[in-house]
């Protein structure tokens, strides 16, 4: 195996010998992608964050390799989205094959709407994601990662947590205002709190072979149902950087898990698929089964679950890490405002409300994909094969083909933080939905809309040729002074003395937001729409702000 993950020195803090009880504001358990992103988001907002990880190294294999557009936008807000895209392999097209037919039954484009900063999906090894995130964290003095530190006991209360942490030189105690558990599928935190993790285990095994070979193949995701080189089962092939290809073979339930991962047993499968003369070396081989499970509550007193500790999905659709990033994105601004005293704990409860819904929908989608890919009964197989046979000739049947519904952000149309539309809209982005992107200009420079919103509440209002009216200007100024994390962005042709202005020379932003002069959107710090209006009325904006802060 050529890849050796970077390792870190185990940390033994002074509290081990002094016996002092340490204090931190936020304690993150687990330095995987979601723990690191949570720490970076809260660290960039100025909070004192401590990350503990019981291991002393990064991900030991490529693991989560698909990162969707929305998580890339989140990473971009945090400072490493562009690094991901630069290193990663961008792809939008996927093709589905059936049996020995060399022509696909179905192809799809993940990003039918172009002119957005990020592609539909990139592939990149998980350890790159972790490395890029850590590089950003190292710029911050207020965030510390302690490797080789394992939480052995936990007291959770309404005011904070007290944990005992084991190190190689002995234990120490630590108090934190909030604990964010990003400690993975087998979350020790979840077990220490005795929380249920309900759902189902699927009786199947998948063999991952990440192999390195130099070959000219299109940068597309290819999925086979029942191909001659894996009869009766599925195979997935897609590319990672550094000439690494991920091949994922469905291998069934009754197998010898130790034998099947031996290179001498994997090689014949790869040769059957790619030809006897293909030359390759292994980067990573792994066997997995999967679960679809979720915790009942993602928040319990001062402990918050994010990522795999809170929900597990099948890998079809790349909804694992991608969902975890969206947990972190949803949580960080809420925790920030609560810690600053600008919102109360009800805002944290909305994290549970919104992200539990997202987990449920992700589980539903990945369960359906699993049922299609690995039918559980004869009749399910008959339907699956009927869809695949018919789909090639009948385009209307193609939408039944389910080789994984790839990770898309889950909207929260009924979130308690939304202000529902008060008028008829013809398109645009509905309350509870993440923003669409579009090209814009800032001064005379080209930019992307997605980079102009986020971090704080943004009121985006479209103005006509004449700019803001005097009474609107006065009302907006008052609103900005009176409301804490909030600023105004005008979209229009004119400069403005008081507020930042975006240009929309292509008209795409107005088109995608279904905007005319005076159309106004209130975006949350996570770039979701909280409310929108056909005209600017600052008293309505103020009320929507209170609602979006769970204030009423």
């Amino acid at each position: 195996m050529p890849y050796v993950p970077p390792s870190f020195k185990p940390c033994v803090p002074a509290a081990v010998s002094s016996g002092d009880v340490e204090q931190t504001t936020i304690l993150v358990i687990g330095a995987g992608p979601i723990g690191l992103a949570t720490a970076l988001d809260l660290g960039l907002r100025g909070h004192k964050v401590l990350v503990l990880d019981r291991d002393t190294q990064l991900s030991d294999g490529s693991r989560a390799i698909c990162y969707a557009k929305r998580p890339l936008e989140i990473m971009d807000r945090l400072g490493f989205g562009e690094a991901m895209v630069e290193k990663g392999v961008s792809w939008n097209v996927g093709r589905v094959f059936f049996k020995d037919d060399p022509d696909p039954v179905y192809s799809f484009d993940l990003l039918p709407l172009k002119d957005q900063k990020f592609p539909g999906m990139i592939n990149i090894q998980q350890y790159y994601n972790e490395e890029f995130n850590i590089a950003e964290l190292e710029k911050l003095d207020n965030v510390e990662i302690r490797w080789g530190n394992e939480v052995s006991s936990l007291e959770n209360s309404k005011d904070g947590v007290l944990v005992t942490v084991g190190t190689e030189m002995g234990p120490y105690k630590l108090k934190a205002d909030w604990l964010v558990a990003c400690d993975g599928a087998h979350s020790p935190t979840r077990k220490m709190l005795g929380m249920d993790f309900e759902g189902q285990t699927f009786k199947d095994n998948f063999l991952i072979a990440d192999v390195k070979f130099k070959a000219e193949r299109p940068l597309e995701r290819h999925f086979w149902f029942d191909p001659p080189f894996n009869p009766g089962q599925s195979v997935l092939l897609h590319k990672q950087p550094d000439d690494v290809w991920r091949i994922d073979f469905q291998v069934g339930w009754d197998i010898d898990r130790e034998e099947i991962v031996k290179p001498e047993n994997v090689t014949p499968r790869i040769k059957a698929m790619l030809g006897d003369d293909v030359e390759f070396e292994y980067e990573w081989i792994s066997i997995y089964t999967f679960n679809c499970r979720q915790v009942k509550q993602m928040v319990k007193d001062r402990v918050i679950f994010a990522g795999d500790s809170a929900h597990l999905v099948s890998p079809f659709g790349a909804r694992g890490a991608n969902t975890g990033f969206q947990d972190a994105d949803n949580l960080a601004w809420k925790l920030d405002l609560v810690l600053r005293g600008q919102a109360d704990d009800a805002l944290i409860a909305s994290y549970d409300e919104e992200r539990s819904l997202a987990a449920e929908i992700n589980i539903l989608n990945s369960t359906r994909s699993t049922d299609f890919i690995t039918p559980k009964s004869h009749v399910s197989t008959v339907f699956r094969d009927a869809v695949l046979e018919l789909a090639k000739d009948q385009p209307c049947i193609r939408s039944f083909v389910n080789s994984g519904r790839l990770s898309m952000p889950v909207p929260y149309p009924y979130s308690s933080l939304n202000t529902p539309d008060g008028e008829e809209w013809n398109g645009g982005v509905e309350p509870g939905t993440n923003s669409i992107d579009a090209p814009v200009t800032v001064g005379d420079k080209s930019a992307w809309f997605i980079n102009q919103i986020g971090w704080e509440f943004k009121l985006v209002t479209f103005v006509g040729e004449g700019g803001l009216a005097d009474d609107e200007r006065a009302a907006l100024k008052k609103l900005v002074e009176g409301t804490a994390p909030f600023s105004v962005l005008l979209v229009g042709p004119t400069e403005d003395a008081d507020f930042d202005v975006l240009g929309d020379p292509t008209g795409l932003l107005a088109e995608r937001l279904a905007a005319e002069a005076a159309t106004t959107y209130l975006f949350r710090p996570d770039q979701y729409v909280a409310a929108r209006w056909g005209a600017l009325d600052t008293s309505k904006v103020a009320a929507a702000m209170r609602k979006a802060l769970a204030g009423e």
Binding site: N365, R368, D371, F372, S377, H378, V379, S380, F383, V387, E389, L390, D393, Q394, P395, C396, S399, F400, N402, R405
Partner: protein, 70 residues
């Protein structure tokens, strides 16, 4: 009348697929076969147009290679 709809016509294909698969839960293969036939008959009555059903049947016939001798 006639003219079978062959453009996309469902809001959520996955919901529909799940309804069908769920209908079969716990059935033997023989029971499932009969259930499929009943489902087709009910939907045919709902469609209420012989020509549409004839067109669909013709598509399925030519899309399903048969190995059985005539």
């Amino acid at each position: 009348m006639g003219s079978l709809t062959v453009c996309e016509n469902l809001e959520n294909y996955d919901d529909v697929y799940q309804v069908i698969i769920d209908m079969h839960r716990g059935m033997t293969d023989e029971e499932s076969e009969k259930a499929n036939a009943k489902l087709i008959l009910l939907l045919a009555n709902h469609i209420g147009d012989l020509e549409v059903i004839r067109e669909a049947a013709a598509i399925v016939r030519s899309n399903t290679p048969s190995t059985k001798a005539e």
